[in-house]
């Protein structure tokens, strides 16, 4: 299937500095690897979102704070808006950089809504933690929410799926009362991981009750249990909700090598997950699908996972080995050789209490289905 790739080299201006984990180098690595594989199409360069478009979902006060912080002079009360904090430090040009990422996801949504494309990959964005009046968790503006807002205005029912290892709290709260947006988040349980929310009892409010689904997973969850729980929840939810379009935040930080979280997925788990998502879009939304990136803090694994995502989305074969030229180039930059294969070379780690983890994940998904059942009939 043809799948336009929305990307702009200036995405890399969204940069919190060399010591911050949300590194723009990830994008450079993925893009150069796609090029080296001969799998990089001419990218669709998006316009930056306008301040007015950002304000579809964010308060004026937050936007004004971001604009002030962009001149390198954050206001004294910026931390109240989550800005000029260790997670979201202010940097020069922050507002423009954040609006360009929003513009990319919004442009992807426009391509799908207008029928110009069916499946689009936004090679950036996925800033799911940003809230109405709060920058949070490396996220300044919520590109996903702006895109979903546009799809809603076009009259489409939107299912949002979030496989980042952290709860998709920002998107959830922004559509918490909206029965035309179903949010589904699979993540490491908030008992153990940022942001702390995303329990099964968070199901939406008022007219939106039943339209927010959360699957909190145990630390050290592995491929089989993750995919089992996904299968128990997501296809049923989509069949019930009957969305017109699926928006997916494809964070790569559920991978075992991720230094910020504690799930143990492998690239094989991710391949199965991505293939399943593409198939579910074909079944439930006529293929209409917007894919974005998200979290992912192990440079090596994240590069391979998102490259795999781009190849699968564009219907290309997965190579076994990565091109030597690319490996060479990044050996110098990385200070050590990258993994030479697309998939993880090593076997899945063995986990002592694997059965207990799988059992708990199954129970959580069963509980969620029980809670959701009254709304599904």
């Amino acid at each position: 299937m043809d799948c336009p790739l929305v990307y702009h080299p200036a995405y890399q201006a969204y940069d919190f500095g060399p010591r911050h984990p949300f590194s723009p180098v990830r994008l450079e690595r993925v893009w150069t690897l796609l090029e080296a594989l001969g799998a990089a199409p001419e990218p669709v360069a998006p316009p930056a979102a306008t301040p007015a478009e950002v304000r579809w979902v964010h308060d004026d006060a937050l936007v004004a704070q971001v604009e002030a912080a962009s001149d390198g002079a954050p206001r004294p009360d910026a931390p109240r808006y989550g800005l000029a904090t260790p997670d979201v430090p202010a940097f020069e040009g922050m507002d423009a950089a954040a609006r360009l990422l929003v513009g990319g996801t919004l442009h992807a949504a426009r391509l799908v809504a207008s029928g110009a494309a069916v499946r689009v990959l936004q090679l950036g964005g996925g800033l799911h933690h940003a809230q109405q009046a709060l920058a949070s968790g490396f996220c300044v503006y919520n590109d996903l929410a702006v895109a979903i807002h546009h799809l809603r205005r076009e009259g489409l029912r939107v299912a949002y799926l979030d496989v980042d290892v952290h709860h998709g709290d920002g998107v959830q709260w922004l559509f918490y009362e909206d029965p035309d947006v179903l949010t589904i988040s699979l993540h490491e349980s908030g008992r153990y991981l940022f942001p702390g929310t995303g329990g099964v009892f968070e199901m939406g409010e008022d007219a939106g009750t039943g339209y927010a689904l959360n699957v909190p997973l145990e630390p050290f969850t592995q491929d089989a249990s993750y995919l089992d729980v996904f299968e128990r929840v997501v296809p049923h939810a989509l069949a019930w909700f009957r969305p017109d379009v699926l928006v997916v935040q494809c964070g790569a930080d559920a991978h075992a090598a991720d230094p910020l979280a504690h799930l143990l997925l492998t690239t094989h788990g991710y391949e199965a997950l991505f293939r399943r998502i593409l198939a579910l879009a074909d079944v439930h939304t006529g293929g209409r699908l917007v894919l974005t990136l998200g979290g992912g803090y192990d440079l090596d694994a994240t590069t391979r996972i998102w490259t795999m995502l781009a190849l699968l989305a564009r219907g290309l074969d997965l190579p076994e080995r990565l091109p030597e030229t690319w490996l060479h180039r990044w050996t110098d930059r990385q200070g050590g050789p990258p993994t030479p294969t697309l998939h993880d070379p090593e076997a899945e780690r063995s986990v002592a209490n694997r059965a207990a983890i799988e059992d708990q994940n199954r129970r959580v998904s069963t509980r969620l289905l029980e809670l959701a059942a009254p709304y599904w009939h």
């Binding site: 997670d87 490396f138 952290h166 709290d169 702390g196 504690h262």
Partner: protein, 205 residues
């Protein structure tokens, strides 16, 4: 945290001469389980959904929906003041086995606190309403441990959303649970480990 910060208001009340079925309708409409019974300005009792259901159950023989509220209510209920701390209210409710406390301010009914409000207060006290991550440390019960710990976190420029401590049952150790306003608690955990702290969560890499 004081009751005046968490209590519900306005308070839905009912008169002692009102009918029980009226009390029940009021509870249903406002989705509450407790109604203070008020005569003029004066609190004279509490009627709960359990009182209503027990006394109007078919076959109970004694009362029906037309029974006046004052025959089903608990008279002279236990009350609290607006500046009572929430932990004291929690202990009072447990000890006296009641599900709510009317809050009186100078004899006037100012609000009501139920078990649900106390659970919300607990969630608020744990800092769960703001995005943050969890860091759990086990220390021996000695002066200065918490101060040392929090100063190390502060040195990293990380804000604290909440601090909870409790003594482990059956040991002399204290668990300190910090909620950090930071996506990644691992750098702080690594620093604490270097300083000799027993960090329970997050795990070492």
């Amino acid at each position: 945290m004081l009751l005046e910060e968490i209590m519900q208001r306005p308070v839905w009340t009912i008169a002692p001469a009102a009918r029980l079925d009226e009390a029940y309708r009021l509870m249903r409409r406002h989705n509450v389980r407790h109604l203070p019974v008020v005569e003029g300005e004066r609190l004279v009792g509490i009627v709960t959904d359990r009182d209503v259901r027990a006394l109007t159950r078919p076959g109970s023989g004694v009362f029906g929906g037309g029974t006046p509220v004052h025959r089903a209510m608990t008279p002279d209920p236990i009350t609290a003041g607006p500046r009572d701390p929430v932990e004291e209210a929690a202990r009072l409710m447990r000890r006296r086995k009641v599900g709510c406390l009317p809050v009186l301010d100078g004899g006037r009914l100012a609000g009501i606190v139920t078990v649900t409000d106390l659970l919300d207060a607990l969630a608020h006290l744990t800092g769960l309403e703001k995005p943050g991550s969890r860091l759990v440390v086990r220390v021996d019960d000695a002066p200065g441990r918490l101060a040392h710990l929090t100063s190390l976190v502060a040195d990293q420029g990380i804000n604290l959303l909440s601090v909870l401590t409790y003594t482990e049952p059956a040991t002399a150790y204290v668990r300190i649970i910090l909620r950090l306003a930071a996506l990644d608690p691992h750098p702080a955990a690594a620093l604490l480990r270097r300083e000799g702290f027993d960090v329970v969560w997050p795990p070492a890499p």
